[in-house]
């Protein structure tokens, strides 16, 4: 079957922070920006990525509300829920719609409003994605799964709390250059790890993970518009192609994995995206990885194929993943600095990559970036979407 090429013609984003707007408006605002960016309002279909509307905001059928508030009716619209990988899944679905020839121009917007409830309730809402009988009843949360995984990684590969703190400092300080990021507070290794106050500033959330190893709970939205080559040709923006998509799943309960230090769904989704794009990890100039916890940036950088297994923390030590390094990762601030409104995160990753490949990222621009990559990590690695992008002209 012949598939059509798919291009990104418009992008938009809100500030990631606490937002006092209805969920549907958090989804619609970046969509308006993206239509302005693309210079078109001719949208054939709308996909809305969201995880918690029904549970946290008591709003279901979100896509119907968003398509109407944007006055895009009677275009088709649906909500896509795939946990914290909802955004990546929605982009992949939009890609399929254009690639197949079903639609020429589709809008993919993602939004979450998690700060409507307190932090503990927000964490518990995300924890409902764990196995109900084998994990959730015990009080298992995403931070606790990440913590148990981190301990194994430390023992097997020599990752230390210092490496985790280095990721936190790199990403949270990168967010200082991103006006839309949630955290605009400069931190240092001294302040979060070495000083006498560090244990107070940076207590354990789930030992060995500390407060600054975890992303904040955020509200926010982000949007991309995807189009066929013909439709993209009518838009006067630098042309970025969505060159490859990959997705893979793993066991629902984390304890069932054969090697508990593997993130096989990341490895498989990344390999699939690279293969479909005709690229290799060495081709990538800039990547946005799903650092909901600092350990995840290190391990995803290995499982995506950028560094050998067990050596991600060494690349971090050498500064290769910082802005100016060989492969800058999360120059947007990542989930750690930009924030993590779950349904919007996958879209925010794509927003950053397109921004970078267009060469419009200002102070945080990765020099000569032509190939970009995203990894959107759902569950604790049980559902992962990876995307590869190329600058075309």
């Amino acid at each position: 079957m012949t598939m059509r090429d798919v291009y990104v013609i418009g992008i938009g984003i809100t500030s990631f922070t606490r937002l006092e707007f209805p969920l549907s408006e958090i989804a619609a605002y970046p969509a308006m920006m993206a239509m302005k960016d693309a210079g078109t309002r001719e949208i054939d279909h709308l996909y809305v990525a969201n995880m918690g509307g029904g549970r946290v905001n008591h709003q279901t059928g979100l896509a119907s509300a968003v398509v109407d508030t944007l006055s895009l009716t009677p275009a088709g619209a649906e909500t896509i829920e795939n946990g914290p990988a909802s955004g990546g899944s929605a982009v992949k679905t939009g890609y399929m719609a254009v690639a197949s020839g079903l639609h020429d121009v589709v809008m993919v917007t993602g939004a979450e409003r998690m700060r409507e409830v307190n932090n503990l309730d927000a964490t518990d809402f995300v924890a409902t994605l764990t196995h109900p009988i084998a994990e959730h009843i015990y009080g298992v949360t995403l931070p606790s799964l990440a913590a148990m995984f981190t301990r194994l990684y430390m023992e097997k590969y020599g990752v230390t709390e210092r490496h985790l703190a280095m990721v936190a400092v790199k990403n949270q300080n990168a967010a200082l250059l991103n006006e839309f990021a949630h955290l605009h507070q400069k931190i240092s290794i001294e302040g979060i790890l070495d000083s006498p106050e560090a244990m107070t500033n940076n207590p354990y959330v789930a030992e060995p993970l500390r407060f600054f190893d975890c992303c904040p709970v955020s509200d926010g939205g982000a949007c991309v518009i995807l189009a066929s080559e013909e439709a993209a040709g009518k838009v006067g923006r630098p042309l970025v192609k969505l060159a490859g998509v990959g997705q893979a799943t793993d066991t629902h309960a984390v304890h069932e994995r054969e090697d508990p230090t593997d993130l096989l769904a990341v490895r498989r989704a990344a390999a699939m995206a690279f293969e479909r794009a005709g690229l290799t990890p060495a081709d990538v100039d800039v990547a946005e990885l799903h650092d909901a916890f600092t350990i995840l940036e290190i391990v995803e950088s290995e499982e995506c194929g950028f560094f050998p297994k067990g050596e991600g923390h060494l690349a971090l030590e050498r500064g290769e993943t910082a802005l100016g390094g060989k492969l800058p990762i999360n120059v947007s601030g990542g989930l750690k600095g930009r924030g993590h409104p779950v349904g919007a995160t996958g879209l925010a990753q794509v927003y950053e990559i397109v921004h970078q490949l267009r060469g419009e990222a200002g102070e945080r621009q990765v020099k000569d970036a032509r190939i970009g990559f995203t990894c959107n990590f759902g569950g604790f690695g049980n559902n992962v979407v990876c995307l590869a992008f190329t600058r075309e002209n």
């Binding site: 084998a134 009843i137 009080g139 995984f149 789930a206």
Partner: protein, 115 residues
């Protein structure tokens, strides 16, 4: 009478699953209920653990020990632990106790102690 947590043994190939799944991961057996419940052993080895300080709202304790354990039959399970100085690789024994109260519901699960 001591309670048990059950694993599910495929009646076709003998593969043991925990938690329950509807189709055998090993042989693909697809007939409903072709699994035999078998009690999980109570002894094993601590694979990894954490102490969680940021707890779901219905836990009225300051911190909670969580662990993944390899049981003597090779099955791995997640549970709570009540071990003062846990170390990976240490021998543990499990008890089935109430692990969560949510409204009027009491949930039973595996709690691990030093063997």
């Amino acid at each position: 009478m001591p309670r048990d947590i059950y694993a599910y043994k495929c009646r076709k190939c003998g593969h043991v699953h925990y938690p329950y799944r509807m189709v055998c991961k090993n042989c693909g057996e697809n007939e409903h209920n072709e699994f035999e419940p078998v009690p999980l052993p109570k002894e094993g080895t601590l694979l990894t653990f954490t102490t969680l300080y940021s707890l779901p709202p219905d836990f009225e304790v300051p911190s909670l020990g969580l662990a993944i354990v390899a049981l003597t039959n090779g099955i791995t399970v997640t549970g709570q632990h009540r071990i003062d100085e846990p170390e990976t690789g240490m021998a543990i024994r499990g008890e089935v106790e109430i692990v969560r109260r949510d409204g009027y519901d009491e949930h039973y699960g595996m709690v691990f102690y030093k063997a």
